[in-house]
Amino acid sequence: MTNDASQNTQPTYYQEVERKGYSRRDFIGFVTMMTAFMGLEKSAIGQVAKALETKPRIPVIWLHFQECTCCSESFIRSSHPIVADILLDKISLDYSETLMAASGFQAEEAMKNTMTKYKGEYILCVEGSVPTGADGVYCMIGGKTSMQILEEAAAGAKAVIAWGSCASNGCVQSAKPNPTKATPIHKLLKGNVPLIKVPGCPPIGEVMAGVIVHLVTFGKIPELDRVGRPKAFYSKRVHDSCYRRPFYDAGLFVETFDDENAKKGYCLYKVGCKGPSTYNACGVMKWNNGTSYPIQSGHGCIGCSEENYWDNGRLYERASAFAGFGIEANADTLGKTALAVTGVAIAAHAVATNVRKKKLIFELEKQGKQSEQELKS
């Protein structure tokens, strides 16, 4: 029994799946895959299936601000077609600039309707950061700034999902000097709406689907880490699940991209792989139906799901740039310079000591020599 009559009119996920022409077998396959992705036990498969069979679909508003839409692209290319067909197509029919059929006033109307009709029930997905510079004029839709749209939409949301690095931590448009003052949404949201960060540029499609299925199945947000990312997908470093890890442990590294070691598939650590500093599921889930991921294609991880990866050092070096000391300077060149300066200063000090404290040293020597002479041999 539910108080909201309108909910009863919403079809369940399973009804939508059936209507789309998928078989029961397809549906169970999808559920099994999702359960595994979420890191749940086999016994949870039934729970997930039941939830998708009985629960009416949750309305979703999907907003696009400062972004490149790679998150949406990643999502609709998620390995199981049901992800795109149901979770995205059906769920986000309410409002998604990229995929909805409606446009203009019609689209704005659809969003407004969802917001009033399903107040406190809909999930707000945000793709992109919000520019707060110049009163927000850098990103305006339908005459409103993205900040206004976010505030309105977040007010009645059950949960907010920050898709991708833009919404989670600002991504490249917030790189120094950040001319538009691009801001991740967790810094802008007020009130107690739960927020899930799903960073990555883009995040893995299956990870995105997993987060939504979790919300649907359990009616609450998944367990998050300290930064606000779902633990199921972001608790391990890419390095920890990397199939090239044995080469790292053995101390076998690619020195340049065209050397023999690169052909042998050695570890990409020395050509700047950020796997050891990056928390993501790429090594396990991989991309494009589990085909590959950057390291498997011979390119180091660039750390796209990490905060500030664009400003924190270089993509093809381990050594980190040291801001303010020239483009080639890193911590070690600076350290070596400081060491040389220290050496020179010490030498100067030693000379000065012998000049300025001559009397003192001479006195000690004299005393010592006298004792030596007074002693019987």
Partner: protein
């Protein structure tokens, strides 16, 4: 030929560095050397041309193992030294390190003028650390703290023990492992610069004061002139009363 005898100062033995302090000092020196050496390797491993399969060697693995083992020793040694700052003798006391009194600042200024600017004046004779040295050691304790925080912060996700897990907030606070790792690497240079200056100054003090500065970290003794002792001037910064 009449020999003109000088007045030769009589020196009195003072037990300055207790055994635990000396033990701490040398263990600290050893693990810091190990940490710097392995740290450099981890940051920029050598190019080994090897005919072995990856399964046949564990070079990076062992270097990291030494780094982590040394880090634990360093951490507990550091904790022990903090504890000893409350129960040790007056030269090991925590008050030797904090510029919290006017006397401390005055002495720092005096050491600066005499030992760095090389101005003429009455030589300063401190028995334990002088105030300037004490303050620099305070800075090293801060550097120890930074290295422990960032180091264990980076190590935490690899560990199942609760102790490193206490540091998971560090990378989260700093905004990720990339920056945490860089801070860890930058701070390492402080240790190198400190060690160079530290060793030089030990030789310097031994040379101009002749009171057993170098050997004091071996036997624990320094020697002060009888007159200094008579005046009962514990010239230590922030004395107990």
């Amino acid at each position: 030929m009449a020999t003109k005898y000088l007045h030769i100062h009589r020196l009195r033995r003072v037990y300055v560095w207790e055994l635990p302090v000396r033990f701490y000092h040398w263990l600290n020196a050893l693990v810091i050397i190990a940490l710097i050496a392995t740290g450099f390797y981890i940051a920029n491993p050598l190019a080994i041309q090897s005919q072995h399969e990856a399964s046949g060697q564990y070079t990076m693995g062992w270097v990291r193992y030494i780094h982590f083992a040394a880090a634990y020793l360093f951490f507990f040694n550091f904790l022990f030294r903090l504890y000893w700052g409350f129960v040790g003798n007056k030269y090991a006391n925590w008050k030797q390190f904090l510029p919290i009194s006017k006397k401390f600042f005055k002495e720092m200024w005096y050491v600066f003028r005499m030992d760095i600017m090389m101005l003429k004046g009455k030589e300063h004779m401190s028995i334990g650390h002088n105030a300037m040295a004490g303050f620099i050691y305070f800075l090293t304790f801060l550097a120890f703290l930074i290295q422990c925080l960032t180091g264990f912060g980076l190590y935490a996700p690899m560990s199942t023990w609760w102790l490193p897990k206490l540091f998971t907030w560090v990378p989260a606070f700093l905004g990720g492992d990339i920056l945490t790792r860089q801070i860890h690497h930058w701070s390492m240079w402080f240790f190198i610069l400190f060690a160079v200056i530290h060793v030089y100054l030990v030789f310097y003090h031994d040379y101009v004061e002749g009171r057993g500065e170098i050997s004091s970290m071996g036997g624990g003794w320094k020697f002060i002139e009888e007159e200094v002792f008579e005046r009962n001037h514990h010239q230590t910064p922030n004395p107990e009363n």
